[in-house]
Amino acid sequence: MQLITTLLAVTLSAGTSLLYATIGEIYTERSGILNLGVEGMMMMGALSAFAVSFYTGSLFLSLIVAMLVGGSLALLHAFLSISMRANQVVSGLSITLFGTGLASYLGQRLGPESNGFNLAGMTASNFQKIQIPFLGDIPILAAFFNQDVLTYMLFLIVPLSWYFMYRTKHGLSLRSVGENPRTASAMGISVAKVRYLYTVIGGMLVGLGGAHLTLAYTPGWSENVTGGRGWIVIALVIFAGWNPSRAVFGAVLFGGINAIQFRLQAAGTMIPASFLNMAPYVVTVVVLALMTIIGKKKKGKYSSPSALGNAFSIEDK
């Protein structure tokens, strides 16, 4: 029982950064913009959050800066793909390359002189687990109520995002823009405005996901701290069928695999560590293949926004 509770707690913590980024990317993709820059935005979010925390000690300020950094990278992507009508795949990939490269560079420059200007190995104030009285004492359930603030915030963000997307006027506009921008435009919705807005909001959430890594999950900065999580996020969006509430299952699944493989490595098994490290990525491939099959059977419910990745102008044919 204790083991299950512990594993579940680690799972939720590992899944938090994934879930922030996945929900962010769902907002973006729902508007019809494919942002493959998640990995880069997450990395920059992780770095900037840690750096701000290291110098100011203010966690709140760290989160704000991570959001601004993620948001501005997303804004760049929005500008390239909406205003300049650039290829979204290329633009997104360059954001990832740029983001990871810049983060790695800054990580070796922003640190204190005593550490050779390196941020790696430094400690800063970080988010502590907060145990909710009473609820945090019940076995199994304790896993949910023994988390950090960022994870608790998701308990609100996920249902609110779902409600926003499916029950509000703005959610209706958002979904219509990603499905059929021509129709949305004919109904008086500004496609460009909606796409800019949700690409930036998406980038902010991705930035928060990065912040969780360096301020809560594995406090401290290290090179390649995201470890390809940004790419798993792209897959999780598909896994979730572009639905924020289903994203929870994906994040928990991948967080869980991470948690279990860490445990196995710590316990020392026959399976080589490299294979265990590979597990989340192998599962990604398998899950995506399965989702494609399910998607074919359940038309509409799991399919991607029809206009995903396409630039739009009303005078296009």
């Binding site: 059929n180 129709t183 109904m187």
Partner: protein, 510 residues
Amino acid sequence: MEKSSVSTLLKMEGVTKRFPGVIANDRVDLELHNGEVLALLGENGAGKSTLMNILAGLYRPDEGFITIRGEKVSIHSPQDSMHLGIGMIHQEFMLVQTMTVAENIVLGLQDLPLIPPMAEIKRKIIELSDRYSLKVDPDRFIYELSVGEQQRVEILKLVYRGAEVLILDEPTAVLTPQESRDLNGIIKTMLSEGKSAIFITHKMDEVLSFSHRVQVLRQGKTVAACKTEGTTPQELANMMVGREILFKIKKAPYRPGEPKLILDGVTVEDPTGRPVLKDISLTIYEGEILGIAGVAGNGQTELTEVITGLQKAVSGRITLDSQDMTNKQPLHLIKAGMSHIPADRGAMGIVGDMSVADNLVMKRYRSEPIASRHGVMHATKIFGFAKKMISFFKIATPKPETLVKFLSGGNIQKTILAREIDSCGGVLIAVYPSRGLDVGATESVRNNIVAQRDKKAAVLLVSEELDELLSVADKIGVMFEGELMGIVDAATTNKEELGMMMAGMRGGNA
């Protein structure tokens, strides 16, 4: 609104709209009076839709201005247009497939509360749909609806927004005769409430039965604007095309040769295992056009696709020149001489983002003289071939290099027709070949099909227009729920007999 039929509601003056390489509208004037239906008539590519898209706020005019009730207005966006009480139903419906009817209807409404009160909205929709007899369930998803139902959603969308001027872009092109009659009734109800409508069409009978006045456009210019009363279909057709139009098709006497294409007990199932084509047996002879009639969706698509190798038969046999062609690959069938003019031009007939020349050469590029023996294509030969085809089939394109998607519907169809007829080696499968085309293009398509038959080709012509089948086909088969109700002689049958068979009665030599 007060009802005085002579007062001008809306006026467009000197409107010009240019697209790269074309002038879509050239100083067009248009006037709409209170409580009337104005028919906007013209060939494909005459600029009707462009003109209306300007009113709807989708395009901005390069010159000219618009006044409503005497006041000059500027329409910069669909939102502006809506505020002025103008609502347009586009040829391609503006509906989000994965949303419900109710969601589509309120989409983009400015005064919608943050959390839309769906129960109240649905009540209002049901109320409106009762008033105009537009039956539709607000909770269904758009992709679950038939085309006719989708159109009702479009109309509801406009009345929900309180549109006073309705613009309908070829609304009957996708409807069954029954649905067209319903639409006529709906429009009448709206007129009685003081609304006005502009009706884009290229069908003469619709102009005469729906409209009060008619304006004819040709090549972006107004050629006539007059009262509908007092004009004749012939007069309108001539104005529209700019020359005499023959409503009769000239064809040689019917002299069938050997059996060419034989279907024997062919059955096709859909992915769920439901039979969609049941035990079809038919023979098409050389020099014969076999027409296929029926309400859309009764197995016509499956019939043509199983013949052209796009769908698999679960049982039965298809032979061409006594060779077994059952479930062969399309390329095999093409090499055996089969040509196919598909129903969905955009999806199956052309590659929109490729040039007219490349589309024309799409069945010839594999072999000499277009390609070398090693498969390298000769640009000059492609160009020469395309030029020849463009002039022979009178395809109106600025250049052979123009992307096909920029051509009008009629010229896209001519491009497909040119390619398929040029490569035709004895069998032509034509599916709704004149759907959505104007009189001029229809005439040329029909003549080309008849010419193939006169050259001893076996032709299968699927059409939803009985007039077309009666004048073009030699024999007519009628399909109903995946079955062939019988095959009758086109020379001796009549619309009544065909109508009965379309409703499921067996007839002819079934």
